[in-house]
């Protein structure tokens, strides 16, 4: 398959690095990273990634707010968004479903199959 470009939006730099490492090793995807929702929206507008991995709990504008802004933006609304979150309670699941994200991956994730999980959610073939 063609190499994909993935945008990671997470305020935790070590998590960005580990996700990058996982996706590189498993699928050799290209990765760009943003440390805040606003920076992420900016990168998404300019680079049009194939998918966005979005952390939920971030300072300033959180993941849900970031998703809503991406969704209203004509340049980014077509990009599938997968939430990376430790929050998996029933209420949260219902909220994520309601706002229309493509998928949710629970943190901590299995590092050796992260790309497979993303590909499965997006119906990509690895």
């Amino acid at each position: 398959m063609n190499s994909k470009l993935i945008l990671i939006i997470d305020d935790e730099e070590p998590i960005q690095k580990v996700v990058r490492l996982s996706l590189k090793l498993e699928a050799n995807w290209q990765i760009i990273c943003a440390s805040s929702g606003l920076e992420g929206i900016d990168l998404a507008e300019h680079h049009h990634p194939d998918a966005i991995l979005l952390d939920v709990m971030m300072p300033e504008i959180d993941g849900i707010n970031t998703f809503e802004r991406l969704n209203k933006n004509v340049d980014t609304q077509h990009i599938p968004v997968i939430l990376l979150t430790a929050k998996t309670g029933t209420a949260e699941k219902r909220l994520f479903q309601k706002i229309g994200v493509t998928g949710v991956i629970t943190k901590p994730f299995d590092p050796l199959t992260l790309a497979s999980q993303i590909a499965k959610l997006l119906q990509w073939t690895l």
Binding site: I15, E26, L112, L126
Partner: protein, 641 residues
């Protein structure tokens, strides 16, 4: 790693062999150039250390001869010739490195390691990994889930070889060539013995999957790692083992860079625990703390610091409850934070989180009225090992938690809320080991009440007096295990593990009775213990079902249509492999003659319906305990080819 040392200096060779062996290299040594040529042409080596000045054929000539024949193994040339032209001549002859005598052996070893790394891979891969099993060729350390695994030099060399060649099947004779030096004269039985030893140690370290597989008729190879994904067409460039190794190396590097941030968050929690104790938290502080510890939990989880991740989640949970914590919760908070600090020292590891969390955390109620320091240490260790510990600081508090204030309320729902074990501290403090009389009497009274109301609940005691008389008194009051102080926290946890029946949860129990009403009743009775119960009302299907589920315990009624319980019991016992399987009869017949008949058929126990059912669970657990002990012994014996 196997090295050929060609040097005629016996004293130097002796030192080098000793030092290289310590570094887990296997060394063949010869003293002249012609012998060096014979050995290099006959055996496989990973590196040759070659002296320049040698009898019969000098090192330079040998090097040229080897290279002209296409010999690709790295060669390190040793010489007392220290002119630049000598070095150039040596390297032009085909040596990969040149070291001038006299030299520091440490430098030689470092250069050997560098040469091996350079030739074994295009990229440095310092850590060899197989799931959570890691071998660091630089430090020669082997760890599983971050804990060291002690191996002999040969076991280490075997493991390293398998990890470096994860898809290769090695014949025993190849292993002999690779791992053993030529003057050791080992046989293939030696290889088998070392493989067995290695497997045993890896199993003892907690690895349940077979790391080294036997390929019948061919030899041995590295097994499939538990974290390996099924083979797909993706990313063929890297094998799973290579990916794991690279991932782990990257993870360690990233952790080293960012560990400081996690330590800062931990320091914040230390300060917070003091604030909590002194003045409590306002809502803003609580939310901020919750967010910080949440992020910390996420980071630690990503790095595979499982224990730290779990502790941070527990702290987050505590903070989520309320702004003001009870004294008990504050004490728990402090223990969690302290333990978390230690957990941050663990190395990152590869964790397959999709395997899911442990099914059940043992829940312990610790009754301690003294607040002794060793109890705090015990708490910290217990939390580290995954136990959920609730502390009662008075007998009243314990009675409330255990539902002893409502004696009639011993129904099954209440049973489900109970801890898995009660640990009772009867030791005063280091200054006065004996508790004061009033406290002691209250505790002893609580014990008696507890054992009457919840006879199944294991009660472990720590006492300053473990003599026979005192022990007898405590056992009479319901103690399942009595530990005499001083006893280390680790020993206490070991006792807890032995005394709880948690390990027997999910044991498979086959219940054969043609009375479906009684089957329902027995199922209800056993439900709180989380056994996997297979009820069977039709004994004619017994053998089919039995072979499908392979139960851990069988409970048989006697009178059933077609085949009676005695006959079923005899059929089971007629198979040599089922001689130890626990069989318990559960019958309405209370007469000694019927009971004798059951034991003669091969029963282990006999319980009378309606009158002895209270003992059913205990008797099942007793049987399971002994059966598991026997199975463990057997499986230890079976860890051979």
């Amino acid at each position: 790693m196997k090295i050929l040392l060609v040097d005629d200096d016996n004293a130097l060779a002796e030192v080098l062999i000793q030092q290289l062996t310590v570094q887990n290299y296997v060394v063949d040594r010869v003293a002249d150039g012609e012998m060096g040529w014979s050995y290099a042409s006959t055996f496989d080596y990973d590196l040759i250390v070659l002296d320049w000045v040698l009898p019969s054929l000098d090192g330079l000539q040998l090097c040229q001869r080897l290279r002209s024949g296409g010999y690709g193994v790295p060669i390190l040339l040793l010489s007392s010739k220290n002119q630049q032209t000598d070095k150039i001549q040596g390297l032009e002859a085909g040596a990969d490195d040149y070291l001038v005598k006299p030299f520091d052996v440490k430098e030689l070893i470092a250069r050997i390691q560098a040469l091996v790394r350079r030739t074994s891979s295009t990229e440095p891969q310092p850590i060899l990994a197989w799931g959570n099993l890691c071998l660091d060729p630089i430090s020669c350390n082997v760890t599983y889930q971050g804990y060291p695994v002690a191996l002999t030099a040969k076991e280490y060399a075997l493991l390293e070889l398998f990890l470096r060649h994860s898809h290769q099947v090695f014949k025993a004779s190849t292993l002999l060539d690779q791992i053993w030096s030529s003057d050791e004269f080992p046989s293939e039985a030696t290889v088998r013995s070392h493989i067995r030893g290695l497997r045993r140690k890896l199993k003892a370290a907690g690895i349940t999957t077979n790391v080294i597989e036997t390929v019948r008729g061919l030899g041995y190879r590295l097994g499939t790692s538990p974290t390996d994904t099924p083979p797909t067409q993706k990313n063929n460039a890297l094998s799973s083992a290579e990916r794991q190794a690279q991932y782990l190396a990257g993870l360690m590097q990233t952790w080293q860079t960012h560990k400081g941030e996690s330590l800062k968050r931990w320091n914040y929690l230390v300060t917070l625990s003091q604030t909590l104790k002194e003045q409590g938290l306002n809502e803003q502080q609580r939310l901020q703390a919750q967010q910080k510890v949440h992020s910390l939990a996420g980071t630690l989880g990503i790095f595979g610091l499982v224990e730290g991740h779990r502790l941070a989640l527990q702290i987050e949970q505590l903070l989520a409850t309320a702004t003001s914590l009870s004294p008990r919760q504050i004490a728990q908070f402090q223990v969690l934070v302290t333990t978390l600090g230690h957990a941050l020292d663990n190395p990152p590891q590869l964790v397959s989180w999709t395997e899911g969390p442990p099914t059940h955390l043992p829940k312990i109620l610790l009754l301690d009225v003294t607040g002794a320091p060793y109890i705090q240490q015990l708490m910290a260790l217990a939390v580290t090992q995954g136990l959920e510990v609730d502390i009662a600081t008075s007998t009243d508090m314990a009675a409330e938690i255990l539902g002893l204030n409502a004696p009639g309320d011993n129904n099954l729902d209440a049973l489900a809320e109970l801890p898995d074990l009660v640990l009772l501290n009867l030791v005063g403090s280091d200054n006065a080991l004996d508790l004061n009389e009033v406290s002691l009497q209250l505790l002893l009274q609580l014990m008696s009440t507890l054992s009457q109301q919840w006879p199944q609940l294991p009660l472990v005691l720590i006492t300053p007096q473990g003599d026979f008389g005192n022990r007898l008194d405590l056992v009479r009051r319901g103690a399942a295990m009595v530990l005499e102080y001083p006893v280390s926290p680790a020993e206490i946890l070991e006792a807890i593990d032995q005394a709880t029946y948690l390990r027997y949860r999910h044991s498979k129990i086959m219940l054969v009775d043609d009375d479906s009403h009684y089957l329902d009743k027995a199922m209800r009775l056993l439900k709180p213990w989380h056994f996997q119960i297979t009820p069977l009302a039709n004994p004619s299907r017994f053998w089919t079902i039995f072979n499908q589920i392979m139960p851990d315990v069988i409970i048989l009624d006697i009178e059933m249509p077609g085949i009676n319980g005695f006959e079923l019991c005899k059929v089971i016992r007629s198979h040599p492999q089922w001689q130890h399987l626990p069989i318990i009869f559960l019958s309405i017949h209370a007469d000694p003659a019927t009971q004798s008949q059951a034991f003669a058929a091969g029963a282990d126990d006999y319980i009378t319906k309606f009158s002895q059912e209270d003992n059913l669970v205990l008797r099942i657990l007793n049987r399971l305990k002994r059966y598991h002990a026997w199975c463990n012994q057997e499986s230890a014996l079976l860890t051979v080819d």
